[in-house]
Symmetry: C2
Subunit: 408 residues, 2 copies
């Protein structure tokens, strides 16, 4: 991409009411545009980051045989009434809207009910199970406050996966597979070191669920981890009774602020029972379907990555989610020509700052936009038949002979 | 994809209230699931078709330097109030919803207002123009009736492109480029022969806009075309006064039913003026930005393709948008083994019917699901070291030696 050809530009000021660092930096660097608190547009660079995150998640879920669907945002109240969750007392973040032909609709804050309801069409026998279905879908949550940039949206992108099984054992096995996939996903996203699977509160049918929490000073959650981080608890289950089960005491743990980037949940019969999702087993008996659900906040992950790695100069993207691997600056006529030559054929790997602007301005924008590597080609580097490669994270620069340099 | 591994299955009956053929066939064949009238879920095969349509559109728009963004569905009323379009009298298909913290929001039925509003952040000088920005975005329209399957959704996927210019000439030039891109898009979608660019009514600033209409008996529109189809009018502008301008009379034309799959519109100052989108020209004078908009109904195109090519056995997909090129059936133990061998490594091109089912059932599902080619490998074909390849459209079959067959 050529910077001279894109409409985006870096901004000196973030939107006035943008107090979250991720929101401010992403706005200033031209990744997002704020519509209202918790409601954002994604600009070309932002779309690329979201697509890279989605691609990683999609690959890992497809590898464990999950199938991708796309469900509607507008919600028929019926299945939600069957579980009691259409009530604003029960779920207090509904956006609701009136159908012109009469009746209320909801805007999906999550999709358990329509998913279970849909499966009644496709699951009737034990032969139809297991089923693993996911989507990337915009969720709507009518939050009273939304001050965390894209880390807490009123409208946000989520990956939600639902699994359906004939037995608790089968659910447990798949749940473990998802744990494996999630470990790979957060590793590939660059959050492996800082993201922990924590024990969180369960529900009617399960003692615990699990959350994926990324250590982050501005995180809304608090987690407790032991010395080797093998045992991590969410605040809500961090009490003597629970700890005793694990042979631990509070003094073994340290506290940290964290942001929830995913969660996994053994729902068992929570939704399948009230919605009547049953199958006939091998002896022709009707049985309720076991179920699990597994979320990752896609746009939130983008915000968390922005928060986690940013420094005082701007964003710092891990290579796997960076919109481009390189930010290319040509200085002087010869430098610009050589840069243009390097760029050709590598439009998807290089963000080429071909603007008519001062080097200092280009360097500042390179830092703010946060591509993993900056390449500078100038008369000075060309004197040595070289380019200068700078690591955005460490700030280390080195000269590399043009003949030796490989974009990969 | 292996049919034994996916949760979808063909259904004997369409949803009871599904009167549109596209909705009924796509439901029965396992591409979509109906939530409510005009509100659908897309199942794995449906997601693949949508992705292929998006891919074609994206390629052709990127080729004319358009940039992809993703705007929000939830709408701040402010810019819409500036153009008068937040009013339900002015725009009668709004879904509106209440923000918990107070105030009404809309669900975007289109995106001119937020797009123009956003551009006020990025466009200030003639140097910032032109700008071409598009998105694939879910639109919400509170239709009183929605009985046309996925051809008229209350929630549907649309590609909308907006262009911003310093002059009418620049707008005209880009408009022509979009006409070129649209011709390529509909050609690639398999709708080239049957889709016409028609004159439609303009607006405040332009005498005409253009619609892309695909000839279709169940289409909601009526178009009029002359003998060589060089001149095509939408019903609303098909009158003596307009025809006289083109030196034509009504008797030169034939009538046909058609479905609108796209439209392009020279908006000029329609939105930029009330929203105050201006730039400073070379003499430092403030000027209003010229603007165009260009839509394609992505999910509607899927419905139109389904309607247009289906026969009494089921769907018939053009190769470019088919979820898979081949539907593979193995018959008998040897046939199944050979089929499995052929399938390996070609999971993205072949839908492998590896179910334990009768050949007749598999053939019926192959026809209903509509992949362009059916491959059958049985003991009988293997006796001749061959497979049988059947063209879904023509029904023609031929035996091809296994050694000669290439998947491409």
């Amino acid at each position: 991409m050529r910077l001279s050809k894109t409409f985006i530009k870096t901004l000196r000021e973030a939107p006035k009411d943008e107090i979250a660092r991720n929101g401010a930096l992403l706005s200033r660097a031209g990744y997002i545009h704020k519509e209202l608190a918790g409601i954002y547009d994604y600009l070309p660079l932002g779309v690329l980051v979201l697509e890279k995150i989605k691609h990683i998640i999609r690959e890992e879920l497809n590898a464990i045989d999950c199938e991708e669907v796309q469900m509607s945002a507008l919600q028929n109240p019926e299945p939600w009434e069957a579980t009691g969750r259409f009530s604003d007392q029960e779920v207090d973040i509904w956006f609701k809207t009136e159908l012109a032909s009469g009746g209320l609709l909801g805007l999906a804050p999550t999709h358990e009910e329509p998913m279970v309801n849909m499966m009644k069409t496709y699951v009737s026998s034990y032969k139809d199970l297991p089923v693993y279905v996911y989507q990337f879908q915009t969720k709507f949550r009518n939050e009273l406050r939304a001050k965390s940039g894209i880390m807490r949206g009123r409208e946000f992108l989520m990956k939600d996966l639902y699994s359906f099984h004939t037995s608790e054992k089968d659910l447990d096995d798949f749940y473990s597979k998802v744990e494996g996939a999630y470990a790979k996903i957060f590793e590939r996203l660059g959050l492996g070191d800082s993201t922990y699977e924590t024990f969180a509160s369960g529900g009617i049918f399960s003692k615990f669920s699990h959350e994926y929490q990324t250590i982050l000073p501005v995180g809304e959650d608090t987690i407790y981890y032991n010395k080797d981080k093998s045992l991590v608890f969410n605040k809500e289950v961090f009490n003597d009774e629970v700890l005793a089960e694990f042979g631990a005491t509070k003094s073994d743990f340290e506290e940290a602020k964290a942001a929830e980037v995913g969660n996994i949940f053994k729902l068992k019969f929570k939704y399948s029972e009230p919605l009547g999702l049953k199958y006939t087993d091998e002896s022709n008996q009707a049985q309720v379907v076991y179920m699990g659900c597994y979320g990752i906040g896609v746009s939130r992950v983008m915000g968390v990555i922005a928060e986690r790695f940013a420094d005082d100069k701007g964003l710092v993207w891990p290579e796997a989610v960076a919109p481009f691997k390189y930010y290319l600056v040509g200085i002087g006529e010869k430098g610009m020509d050589a840069a243009a030559k390097l760029y050709t054929g590598h439009e998807n790997e290089i963000l080429f700052d071909d603007r008519n602007a001062r080097p200092g301005e280009k360097f500042a924008d390179a830092d703010l936009m946060g591509m993993p590597y900056r390449i500078v080609i100038s008369d000075k580097t060309l004197d040595q038949d070289a380019l200068e490669l700078t690591d955005r994270k460490t700030g280390e620069s080195k000269l590399i002979k043009l003949v030796d340099f490989r974009l990969d």
